[in-house]
Chain length 457, copies 2
């Protein structure tokens, strides 16, 4: 049966790639309000495609924020029901001048598809859509029932989806949740992510005088908001890159020797990465390896800073304002709400005299970790291995999909994080792309998985 | 005689204001290369006006940078020769959204003229031009010979004028230099600036990975250039706002008790300033008063900082680059070249691992101080007092006119800094303006000064 599905995908490959390009052309940037209509357009696109594929039902459902696409096709009450989660929104594209091709005009070079959203997450959502289309067009009784939940706010931290999921618990009920929004640990190596870091962030706005001042007339006598901001920001981490916020590390259990050994066994070449990134050295929290620093240890990163004169040449100005955005990646059992409180207290404690400081919290997501010996996870690993001919790696991801912890909490079923990206695909950065090798192999893996799940129930 | 001159100015006031608006309409921003043609246009405007006023000679002369306007009218070999220095270039106008009227469409509100350059320095240059026009149109033998040197690079630190002045020493020779590019210490109080701070600056560019990275995938394992920059910047000043650069204060003599007393006697209301600026408190280098901090003490100010995501909402990016611009105001006898070296060494010493740091020096000007008991300075004070009916204050200015120390060195004649601005006229900031009360009184003061100088020689 899966052979027919896989053959269907091969037969329609070019048509599917053209559809994907159409999907990627919609600039559905959730962080920028001027793209609101594009976000809605992308939701409509997904819904229309699901209906064309043979879904019983598909609709664009309102939330308190951007809409959610929900669809279902339930033909076999004996079969397990899979809820496929993904997102159709994308990150902003700046600095746009660093892209080698237009971010919303998908281009194939070297068997890689370049576009914003190619790997995160439109490309992977689209793979699910096409595998389901193939199943519905080739077999009479699908091996599983499909529900899909595709949201438009993942890149801004899924602020409204938890409430939506709570309100639609019955509609979303399933035997397992499958999420393809992550990457293989390296080319050719099947990878299941069994943990994710959480997220908590703040914006800090520092205000000095009511307007910009001449640095000659006033310089030395009025606190410069950039200096004040720099002092606050420098107080966040010590020279060993430990976070100095009181209580930041309090709820994190020490890593066991066993866990550290398991992490050390993940294939990883630090020197190759250093060369690829073109940095003089890899640095991070003292006492931990690169893999630990980027998966099981929390972080505090400044994502942006701005103040004063930005033009060419110089302007001897003492600016009126300076601002920064910070996010932390969290690990079990750090609580995002509590971390935001600790960050806010820290700013309050470290702010210099002579300026006003405002802290705005944003973007909270709980960290997530799940036992990877569950049968639906083990079956996913086997489906991968059928296609990739390599043993599956189990890793904890450094990124955050805040909704995963929420869906786990609300729906109380295992979440299988099987992604098909690669680590160097520039997600959130210029020249985002997706390796088409994994587009093909990934869809084949999913086709196998649905038929293998029949036997698990 | 000066009565006729003053009457001429009164009769032509409206015509003159319209001419000034025309001059202010030229966006001659020297820092931005896209305004190069406007800078040249402003030079032509000054030259044409001098010729119309009756100058023997006026020309736009090339330099290695923006052109210089030189003009002269020499009718009396027995009279002293005055070299009037000023600049026709202006500061950038951003953030332009904070202006209440268009920066290059001069508007009068409450007897104040609002426009970029209104007080710094087109307005004050224009006053000199019109007083000379009045003199040349009302008396047969002017009381002094006039030479004018109006440059187009003051706002970027006069990089080419010293060389130009050295090459044209004979042409520029005079008995005194008069500069109107400063302010009264307060409304109605004549003020001669007998010292100026110097200027030295650097730009710091920090480079991390070759491109922006996802803060989840790489966060914690790769040095964030904003964090590196923050660490460097925070190392520049301690919590008492002392500059921590080794050797920074080495050549500065301690202030004598007498100087401190003189500075303390300058009329100044700190609480009023605090309220005007809307800051919680005035702060600065511990152990010094506000007036000392802003005139006789050196400073280090961050003029701008930039890195990472700047848009609305959040973007969990680990940026590739961060940059900052810093300038120092210097006091005698700090040497700008040496200070740039000290700053560069400091950055080198304090840069974190894992990033590349580039330092670019810019904008150097020596500090300046002159004895204020020279007869031409004392006569300027008397001219002021005739019009303002208030005793003249002698102050050391916090700003920098780097060319003043250079002209002093090259031409070896006293420099009289008599300005007609006011401290709250927003120079270098949005809503720059000029009080027309001082436009009128200032021109009257200059008319008196030229006739009083006859007796000094």
């Amino acid at each position: 049966m899966q052979e027919q599905v896989i053959q269907y995908l091969k037969n329609h490959r070019e048509e599917h790639l053209n559809q994907l390009k159409e999907f990627l052309a919609i600039p559905s940037i959730s962080a920028l309000s001027e793209h609101h209509d594009d976000v809605v357009k992308a939701a409509e696109w997904v819904k229309d495609d699901l209906l064309k594929s043979g879904f019983d039902k598909a609709e664009v459902m309102p939330t308190d924020g951007k809409p959610v696409v929900y669809g279902e096709v339930i033909k076999n009450s004996d079969a397990p029901t899979v809820l496929i989660y993904g997102h159709y929104d994308v990150q902003p594209v700046d600095p746009v001048e660093l892209w080698d091709s237009e971010p919303f005009d998908a281009t194939i070079r070297d068997n890689k598809l370049y576009a914003r959203g190619a790997t995160d997450d439109k490309g992977q959502v689209f793979m699910h859509m096409k595998v389901m289309e193939a199943v519905l067009n080739t077999v009479d009784t699908p091996p599983v029932n499909f529900k899909v939940l595709i949201e438009g706010e993942e890149e801004i931290g899924s602020p409204t989806l938890p409430k939506f999921s709570e309100e639609h618990q019955e509609m979303l009920s399933a035997d397992l949740i499958v999420v393809s929004d992550s990457a293989l640990i390296e080319k050719g190596k099947p990878t299941i992510t069994y943990g994710l870091r959480g997220l908590a962030g703040i914006q800090i706005d520092v205000k000095g005088a009511k307007g910009d001042l001449h640095s000659g007339e006033y310089g030395g006598g009025v606190m410069n908001p950039i200096h004040a901001l720099v002092k606050i920001l420098d107080s966040f981490r010590d020279e060993n890159n430990k976070v100095l916020v009181d209580g930041f590390y309090d709820n994190i259990p020490e890593l066991s020797g066993e866990e550290r050994e398991a992490l050390a066994s993940v294939p990883f070449d630090e020197e190759k990465l250093r060369q690829d990134l073109e940095v003089p050295e890899l640095t991070g929290e003292a006492g931990y390896s690169y893999v630990e620093r980027t998966s099981v240890r929390p972080t505090l990163e400044i994502n942006g800073i701005y103040g004063g004169f930005q033009g060419e040449g110089i302007k001897t100005v003492l600016p009126s304002e300076a601002t920064t955005k910070i996010t932390c990646r969290l690990v079990p059992d750090q609580d995002p709400e509590e971390i935001v409180e600790l960050l806010t207290k820290h700013v309050e404690k470290n702010k210099p005299k002579g300026v006003e400081v405002k802290v705005t919290p944003f973007d909270k997501g709980k960290p997530y970790v799940t036992p990877f010996d569950h049968p639906v996870i083990q079956t996913a690993a086997k489906a991968y291995e059928k296609v990739y001919n390599e043993e599956t790696a189990y890793i904890r991801g450094g990124g955050s999909i805040p909704i995963v912890a929420e869906l786990d909490r609300i729906l109380q079923v295992p979440v299988v994080l099987m992604g098909f990206g690669l680590p160097d695909e520039n997600l959130h950065a210029p020249n985002e792309h997706f390796h088409l090798e994994n587009f093909d192999k990934g869809m084949e893996t999913l086709a196998h998985y649905w038929f293998m799940l029949e036997d698990v129930k």
